[in-house]
């Protein structure tokens, strides 16, 4: 680590950034990816697995076309984020960490998106939807389902 008195930040200390990059570009981190990073950086696979399971950000499985993140912060909880989840269960048939059978939706919990004043919120493919209700959530999901059906017909 020490080189002419200046700390060189490389290798192991860059591993989180590498994993974040893969997670962002590929949507998840595959077993093969983990193995190749392990060989490349000389970090035991078990340690890498420990890392990716420690941090909430990383996915170890593929996600649906739309990832719905429901905020589980206090303000959202108080303002009934449970209703958002109920709507998603009813409209897409999934609970947290599940992907719908048509491969369209994946539901995830997220720890506070920092939009507490607009609670309860959800994030769908990086866009935040504010002051969500059961009805609004259902509408959103049906709209996306319809769009997907329309596309399928065109093909």
């Amino acid at each position: 680590m020490e080189k002419e008195g200046k700390t060189v930040i490389a290798g192991e200390s860059r591993v989180l950034e590498m994993l974040q990059e893969i997670n962002k570009n590929e949507g998840y981190i595959s077993r093969e990816r983990l193995s190749s990073i392990s060989r490349e950086l000389g970090i035991p696979l078990s340690l890498l697995y420990g890392l990716v399971t420690f941090y909430n950000q990383f996915n170890l499985a593929t996600s649906g076309r739309y990832t719905i993140e429901v905020c589980e912060g206090t303000a959202c909880h108080i303002n009934k984020s449970s209703e958002i989840k109920r709507a998603i269960k009813d409209a897409a048939g999934i609970s947290v960490d599940e992907t719908s059978s048509d491969g369209l939706f994946t539901l995830r919990d997220v720890r506070c998106l920092g939009a507490c004043a607009l609670a309860p919120v959800l994030r769908l493919n990086k866009k935040i939807y504010s002051k969500m209700t059961y009805e609004k959530t259902k509408e959103l999901i049906f709209k996306l389902k319809k769009e997907a059906e329309g596309e399928a017909k065109l093909k």
């Binding site: 192991e12 989180l16 950000q57 108080i78 506070c112 920092g114 607009l118």
Partner: protein
């Protein structure tokens, strides 16, 4: 005459369509360019940081008139531009509270009653405009600092009594002195922007609205302590804040404020690191491990970061708000800062995120020592839908619940601690009579169970056991001894956990037991469980008599008891004339 129309484009405002409003305004202005030229009017539409009044976003501020328009959407953009050109005020788009309309932003009580120094630029300048920043006093603090000796700067911070705004509240001047005196050829500075407390988002707001201020604070820190390198650790849940800070760093580099030979005095670099979604990384040593590419588990102290911090090098770590205060203190002097406090251990103002059942959600800034009542009722407008305030939860998962009876308390480090809570990162979540304290405890313990790093047993196991005990109480299976056990366990976890987050994790339980004990005691077992049978005629009498509104049903239909709410008092059983309620 020149007019500026300002629209905030922070994460929250974007979520409510402020970008579309911004574009709509730009289109409207360019569509009427000729007319403006004819009348000698110039209109510029500018992106700004957030005013903090999140309740009514997107908000639009017109200058120089100072008129605030709220709940604006794309369709209203044309009218706003027309009102500027033809010099009138659109009444129905003004901010309204209790039947009164307010024209100017500065007249709205939400703003008028604040003491905005850290938020002074928010809403008035363009976040990534270096010229806006400099025109509004930017770098004056840094310039004052580099004309001083290191010890002078540190002394000023100590005299100003700047306590860390991240939660622990350590005196910044002392921390900086530790690093300055630390031995080593390479020292690090870290800005903790891993704002993981649910219910607090002022760090995000500040980073998106005034990123240069935070970076200037870091530059002063580097000069005062001799640090040459630094990291700003921002949670990945804040992509826009990350983008803004990244651009701000690039701009500073291009303009000679970062890199080698800053103001011909020192060298300093700032790198961004993204969090990966772990609450515990808000703890300073866990954060350092995370930057080093490890699991974010706290380290044992001592050694303290100033001796052996990141990569084993002397390190100082402060919160976003703490750094942002530094340039202001250097610019205005320690007395000015002290004057913003209430004469106790900390000077300065306090940033608060008001959320929950409050009428006006948002970010506010008040003098240290302002009463909770003033913040909730005078600034926040009281509760939504006129319900009774039950209490406030402060300080996130490390804080506690304070009952309504104590809302005349002045908010400062000492009084909040006396009440068994903390200021923490500054989140205040209002709960009303419909909210169950038991459910809130379960919510926080569930959060903490998932976020505990798992390293030490008291926190890892204690939180689960506390949660199980409270669920047992909720389900009315617990005895008196279980409540005593819960209390004992909470004290044990507090006294024996390794890191600050573990030690504060039982605060929510302890404060709830202190102030809302009857809610726990009402549910201990031995009290009967009531159920409604098919003899119910829907007379609605039990519905009306239930003291905790635990009965659901419309007249003439079979009613139902919500068991989670029922306290087993038996009033419904007593009043029912049709033997429609069974007692088990």
């Amino acid at each position: 005459m020149k007019h500026i129309i300002r629209v905030c484009t922070c994460t929250g405002c974007q979520a409510n369509g402020s970008l579309e409003v911004f574009e709509g305004l730009c289109r409207a202005v360019s569509g009427r360019k000729k007319e403006c030229e004819g009348k000698g009017i110039e209109i510029e539409v500018k992106e700004t940081g957030c005013t903090g009044l999140s309740e009514t976003v997107p908000n639009v501020l017109v200058e120089p008139s100072g008129i605030l328009y709220v709940n604006v959407n794309e369709d209203k953009a044309e009218r706003i531009v027309d009102s500027v050109i033809n010099n009138y005020v659109i009444d129905e788009m003004l901010f309204e509270l209790d039947g009164k309309k307010y024209g100017k932003l500065t007249d709205v009580p939400f703003f008028a009653l604040q003491e905005r120094v850290l938020l002074a630029r928010c809403g008035y300048t363009t976040p990534l405009s270096l010229s806006d920043y400099i025109e509004s006093g930017g770098f004056e603090g840094l310039k004052a600092a580099v004309s001083m000796k290191q010890d002078e700067i540190i002394d000023i911070l100590k005299r100003a009594k700047l306590r860390g705004r991240g939660g622990a509240g350590f005196l910044t001047g002392i921390k900086w002195r530790f690093l300055k005196n630390a031995k080593g050829n390479e020292k690090f500075l870290i800005c903790n922007a891993d704002e993981g407390d649910p219910g607090a988002f002022m760090d995000r707001s500040l980073l998106e609205s005034d990123p240069f201020a935070v970076l200037e604070g870091m530059l002063i820190g580097a000069y005062a302590t001799g640090a040459t390198r630094s990291f700003i650790y921002i949670r990945e849940e804040y992509p826009l804040a990350i983008d803004k800070v990244k651009t701000a760093i690039d701009i500073l580099k291009e303009n000679g404020y970062l890199g080698n030979n800053v103001l011909e005095k020192f060298s300093f670099d700032i790198e961004i690191r993204k969090g990966a979604g772990a609450f515990v990384c808000g703890e300073e040593t866990a954060l350092m491990n995370s930057v080093e590419g490890k699991r974010g588990q706290p380290r044992i102290k001592p050694p303290f970061p100033a001796e052996r911090g990141i990569f084993g090098k002397p390190t100082n770590i402060n919160n976003v708000k703490t750094y942002a205060f530094v340039p202001l203190i250097l610019r205005n002097g320690p007395e000015w800062f002290l004057d913003k406090g209430n004469g106790k251990s900390s000077g300065g103002t306090l940033l608060i995120c008001l959320t929950g059942k409050i009428r006006l959600n948002g970010v506010v800034e008040v003098k240290m020592g302002t009463a909770l009542r003033k913040v909730i009722y005078d600034i926040g407008g009281g509760l939504k839908s006129g319900k009774r305030l039950k209490g406030v939860q402060t300080g996130g998962p490390s804080g506690g619940c304070i009952p309504e009876a104590l809302i005349d308390t002045e908010i400062d480090y000492e009084s909040m601690q006396e009440l068994g809570s903390i200021i923490g990162s500054g989140g205040i979540i209002c709960i009303d009579e419909d909210d169950s304290i038991i459910d809130l405890c379960i919510f926080f313990l569930d959060f903490l169970e998932k976020e505990s790093c798992g390293q030490c047993t008291p926190c890892r196991e204690g939180i689960i056991q506390m949660k199980d005990l409270i669920i047992k109480i909720k389900e009315r299976k617990a005895s008196e001894q279980d409540i005593a056990m819960l209390e004992k366990l909470a004290v044990y976890v507090r006294d024996n956990s390794l890191c600050g987050l573990g030690q504060t994790s039982p605060n929510v339980v302890l404060s709830s037991l202190k102030y809302f004990r009857d809610e726990f005691e009402r549910r201990i077992s031995g009290k009967p469980v009531f159920k409604i049978n098919e003899k119910c005629t829907g007379c609605h009498l039990c519905f009306l008599k239930c003291p905790v509104k635990a009965i659901n049903g419309s007249p003439k239909e079979i009613h139902e008891i919500i068991q989670e709410k029922c306290i087993g008092c038996g009033i419904c059983y007593d009043v029912c004339k049709f033997q429609a309620i069974d007692k088990e």
